[in-house]
């Protein structure tokens, strides 16, 4: 039995981390209900950026949205999303509304659709503050501060502007200001740079990194872009067909993949300096989570696949401290990768 002060201490520590445990999302598909997200577990550690990577349809966005309770009406969610000791999946509607915006908030992919075209930027950024009882002018003032904080020049004058008067990058900055308005500790960024010009992408990623450090935020970055991940993410969760196939520190995962899927992802990234633009494209098409192959879902595309992979689902297990992989041959890869890693670099 823990003493009172000990329990208090552990709560304080764990409150900085959002723990996702065995998250399963069941959606109706063409052939009945399917576990589109199956037993996903990871942590969002305070002050770190956790990257959630996978091909389209791997369930990464669905996973992120489930953390704030935003899943399709027809879906069922199981598992736990632990904020401190509290399971958010069991929280009521009123409690969830408190959590949203104030604890966890979201930066959406496309700022041109995530901002209401009929409302001024200032009104939208200040909306949650109005909800909390601030007056219109107070909310507007705070909105101007927030816009300034995310690097929008001449913010005080631009709170009255409408989204269409902003450029794409400015809109995404406004979107980020909106997400920060409730002073959350966790930010879920769902492909925050995918809809932007490449030149703007880097600046938005820099901004997210700066805000994470200045405001002590934990960030979940959902993306399919390995290069974005390699720049920004501290921890990496690799998803395939609704399951986690590899998890660990971002540098380690990218430098020495312990799962053939991660390995293939890394190899398929086009490098500017290498002659062949797309070095080694991943063969086949991504597995459909509604119709997941038996055994290891990656086996039809995997170069290492053996009979065992077609029948037995590999468990996600710790291969080296802090490194998890769901491949039957991960231990083997770990032992032989010392030489292979050099090759990769």
């Amino acid at each position: 039995m823990m003493s009172g002060s000990q329990r208090e201490e552990s709560r304080r520590v764990s409150a900085g981390t959002l723990r996702v445990r065995d998250l399963t999302i069941v959606l109706p598909g063409p052939r009945g209900m399917a576990d589109v997200v199956d037993g996903v577990s990871f942590d969002m550690v305070e002050g770190r950026t956790t990257g959630l990577i996978g091909e389209s349809g791997s369930g990464k966005s669905l996973t992120a949205m489930a953390l704030v309770g935003l899943i399709p009406d027809t879906g069922v969610v199981r598992g736990q999303v632990l904020l401190g000791d509290e399971d958010l999946l069991k929280a009521g509607r009123a409690r969830m509304r408190q959590v949203r915006g104030a604890e966890i908030s979201v930066v959406f992919q496309d700022p041109s659709t995530a901002l209401n075209p009929t409302m001024t930027i200032g009104d939208q950024v200040g909306e949650i503050l109005r909800e909390r009882g601030l007056s219109r002018s107070q909310a507007r003032e705070r909105a101007a501060d927030l816009l300034d904080h995310v690097g929008i020049p001449d913010a005080a004058a631009r709170v009255g502007a409408y989204p269409h008067e902003f450029s794409g990058g400015m809109r995404q900055r406004a979107m980020i200001a909106l997400a920060l308005a409730g002073q959350p500790r966790f930010i879920l960024a769902d492909e925050p740079t995918t809809a932007l010009d490449v030149t703007v992408q880097a600046r938005i990623l820099d901004l997210l990194g700066r805000l994470r450090d200045e405001d002590h935020l934990s960030m979940l970055l959902v993306s399919h872009d390995l290069r974005v991940m390699s720049h920004v993410a501290d921890d990496l969760v690799v998803m395939y067909a609704g399951r986690v196939c590899e998890r660990g520190g971002a540098k380690a995962v990218l430098n020495r993949p312990l799962h053939p899927y991660t390995d293939a992802l890394v190899r398929s990234v086009p490098s500017v300096h290498v002659e062949s633009a797309i070095a080694d494209p991943l063969p086949g098409s991504p597995a459909n989570p509604f119709d997941r192959p038996a055994g290891c879902p990656f086996h039809p595309r995997c170069p290492l696949a053996e009979d065992r992979c077609r029948t037995e689902v590999p468990a996600l297990r710790e291969i080296v401290p802090g490194r998890f992989s769901a491949c039957h041959f991960a231990e083997l890869a770990e032992r032989t990768s010392d030489s292979g890693a050099e090759e990769l670099r």
């Binding site: 009406d73 959590v99 915006g101 979201v106 659709t113 949650i128 409730g182």
Partner: protein
């Protein structure tokens, strides 16, 4: 030099023709709206200048043709009916009746329809199921039949007519706002407001209703025309307004025995009614086009 001039100048004339044509089209398109506006002005202000009483006819002046001079020396521009009542007065007072009923029905049914439709479309689930079944059941009846039943069961009164017409008219608003709310709730800005912890009521008011307003206004005009037509139908059947009030439907009905001898009794209010409904219809089409282009 000349070629340059030619190149610069030649595109200009087709432009002028095109703007000329659009101007003609624009003027033509404005006519229904202007006629509709005229009805509104006449309906609102006409009764202030012209005296008419449904019990004030002089039997000596019965069935006079348009333009005749009455026994009191005044001229009956549209003639008189079988009881010697002035038709011009009936048309003008009837316009007021039609406009008031049309407006009230659209306001009430619009309010109820938007409320039910938006709630059903945004909340989905059982709310949607219940609302959709009620709508389906009501849709199974021809609208006017339901209105006849309701108006027939109760005593004739102004309020009953408004209620009877609203009962069928709200469905259109409900269906429109339900389908719009269903697509709007999937918009990212609604999701964004939701994950920011914004209250449902506020989301509906600020992120959903503003987008429903335009198309609803367009629908309101056609529903307005429908309500006016339905009121005239009820009054024609003797189920509408009490006989002490003035309604185009009643006037048309009172003239149906004299169609051969005094055509103007039915024809003039009939034309007034048809013209109003057509003009409102055109106005509605224009609004619909405008709002669908904006979307």
């Amino acid at each position: 030099m000349t070629t340059t001039m030619g190149l610069v100048q030649s595109p200009a004339p087709p432009m002028a023709v095109r703007t000329g044509r659009t101007r003609v089209r624009r003027v033509l398109g404005a006519i229904p709206i202007m006629i509709f506006g005229l009805y509104v002005v006449v309906g609102l202000l006409g009764p202030l200048f012209i005296d008419y009483s449904p019990v004030g006819g002089d039997l000596d002046d019965r069935l006079l043709s348009p333009g005749s001079v009455l026994s009191d020396g005044s001229t009956a521009v549209f003639g008189t009916d079988a009881l010697g009542r002035d038709l011009f007065g009936q048309v003008i007072y009837g316009a007021r009746t039609s406009l008031i009923i049309g407006t009230l029905v659209v306001l009430i049914s619009g309010l109820v329809g938007i409320l039910v439709g938006t709630a059903a479309g945004y909340r989905r689930g059982t709310t949607d199921l219940a609302a959709s079944r009620v709508i389906d059941v009501l849709l199974a009846f021809p609208g006017i039949l339901l209105a006849i039943v309701i108006a027939g069961v109760f005593d004739r009164s102004f309020a009953i007519v408004v209620v009877a017409l609203s009962v069928t008219n709200w469905i259109g608003f409900a269906r429109l706002s339900r389908s719009m709310a269903m697509t709007l709730r999937e918009r990212d800005w609604v999701k964004s407001a939701t994950v920011m912890g914004v209250r449902r009521r506020r989301i509906i008011a600020r992120h959903i209703l503003p987008f429903i307003a335009g198309p609803t206004l367009a629908l309101a005009t056609t529903e307005f025309a429908g309500a006016i037509l339905a009121e005239a139908s009820l009054s024609f059947l003797g189920l509408g307004l009490p006989s002490a009030s003035v309604s185009w439907g009643q006037t048309i009905a009172s003239g149906k025995e004299y169609l051969a001898s005094a055509w103007w009794i039915s024809a003039i209010p009939g034309i007034a009614l048809a013209l109003l409904v057509i003009c409102v219809g055109f106005t509605g089409d224009r609004l619909t086009r405008y709002f669908s282009r904006k979307q």
